[in-house]
Subunit: 322 residues, 2 copies
């Protein structure tokens, strides 16, 4: 089969022939891929920032494909285990350390395979799984968002952040965003966000406090030195969900703000199969369409990666596979 | 009446005559004080670290006394308000900005007055309210501790921390502590703790990881640069409660540890009247006796404050009032 894979450590990935996956027992599904989407995780793997990468290995966590005559999406978190609170030691995400989604055929546990929401195009369905499950768990399971609340979502433009924007709007929240790009803020407003600020402006948090009042929920994937400002923007008893840390370690957090405001901070990553099913139902019920930034033929995967590397995207970058 | 109060800004407190409190309406209780206890809060007020201190004002948040022929304790958190998640804007703690507990007579809302557990001495009852409500909320309401779990409590020696040790043991947890004093660790072990480490040793967290495995719950009142080590000691899906921040701002927190371990961090302070009532019931049911470090006559209050200032205490420092 054809696949995009790491051939040698430290070398760029290639699109070339790769050994077909071989089902080794019951409970497995061999999915024929229609389209895939990129995640920051793929970039970090390319940069050698993930442990346990042993070439050759097929990249990719997100796909839509065909199985048993049905169009399906794959929950990319495999072997979550029995405790809904946290993934087991056997847990891994599709695509490194085991072969992933950017291939003609993908072998996964059949319990991870779900019918794709029928209102989605292939490209939209390919954009949904990883961002959808991450957004769903951090918003609903962890932060328990409620209609009428005010939520701040940082880094709008990224796949998970935009999915959070869409899910929160569908759940009846007032949504605000931050971004490093004024253009992306305008796009978020077109999706339904009430407003946003550019975090490249030094006084972004003061500006936000002036226009938006305090936030009942804050969803962050940056961390870094900016995180402490989020605590000032938090309303009393606010919940803060963290699903990423692109800006590195968090400094300057005041314990006094944490305890006096009775704040709750939830680390969250991925989600269970049950949450994945709930997420698909939510997307179907609200007829949500994942934001697709751009669609590339698989042969142009390097350009697609460059676009993500340069943070140019608004929404998910999709690879058309067939 | 006699009271310990701040007479002038920036001057040490005095024990002298003070105007009797005057009940101004229904729903108030005038409690005749039997004994009081000190809190770090009193020290911070003396040091001018609390906003809104306007002399003259009577110090103190903890007391046992007589009201309507019954021996009572006072929930020191006043006007919590309608939302159990967080205190209202009208909320204040007994003793600054309004007159507090170190006096012959204390005027409080009668809804804040509860019969003292009958198995406690006056000194023990005086030691309970603020530490008890703080420990109860952070352990039970916020961190939802469960029998059989392993818990780490930092800074054992302080009133709240030791109350956490006692409550967690009574709830069936395996308790470990940190302290800056080997002697206090030994005392905590006599209370039932499984062990502890001295945080003045540079490798305290590694030593703890070697002997105690990971913690399901961690209760911290230090913050500061040591906080990041607590995250390494946290088990997957651990809950971390923060009720103080004696070591200042928290630095060096890894977002990746937070989200990959699915950690939950809860800021917590004080508690509602309902939690106070639950706490008293818990103390009565388990026949718990607050740890009294030392008892001083009210005339010796300066020595009592010195003892707290020098962090010499193990448990609560009590002032015998009558």
């Amino acid at each position: 089969m054809k696949a995009i894979f790491l051939k040698e450590r430290g070398k760029p990935p290639v699109l070339a022939q790769y050994a077909d996956p071989k089902p080794s027992g019951a409970g497995q599904a061999l999915v024929k891929v229609l389209a895939c989407s990129l995640n920051h995780r793929d970039l970090w793997i390319l940069k050698g920032k993930y442990p346990g990468v042993k070439p050759p290995v097929v990249l990719g966590s997100d796909l839509v494909g065909m199985w048993n005559g049905k169009r399906v999406v794959v929950q990319p978190g495999i072997n979550w285990g029995p405790n809904p609170e946290v993934q087991s030691k056997n847990y891994h995400i599709l695509g490194v350390p085991h072969d992933g989604a950017f291939a003609d055929l993908v072998l996964v546990p059949s319990s991870n395979v779900f019918e794709a929401p029928s209102h989605l195009t292939d490209e939209e369905a390919a954009a949904l799984p990883l961002a959808g499950i991450t957004a769903y768990r951090v918003l609903f399971t962890k932060c328990a968002i409620k209609s009428g609340e005010r939520i701040l979502i940082t880094g709008a433009g990224g796949g998970v952040a935009l999915t959070c924007v869409q899910f929160a709007l569908a759940a009846g929240l007032e949504v605000w965003v931050t971004s490093g790009s004024d253009e992306k803020i305008e796009k978020a407003k077109k999706l339904g966000a009430s407003g946003g600020v550019n975090y490249r402006n030094q006084d972004w948090s003061e500006a936000l406090a002036r226009t938006a009042d305090k936030f009942d929920v804050i969803i962050d994937s940056a961390g870094g030195d900016g995180f402490q400002r989020l605590l000032s923007l938090a309303a009393p008893a606010a919940r803060i969900g963290i699903y990423g840390g692109g800006m590195g370690v968090i400094n300057g957090v005041s314990p006094q703000i944490l305890f006096w405001k009775q704040l709750k901070i939830f680390g969250s990553t991925m989600g269970t199969n049950a949450e994945f099913e709930d997420m698909l139902r939510f997307v179907s019920e609200h007829k949500l369409n994942p934001v697709v930034d751009s669609v590339w033929n698989k042969e142009d995967f390097e350009k697609a990666f460059d676009r993500m590397e340069n943070a140019e995207q608004f929404g998910k970058i999709v690879l058309r596979w067939v």
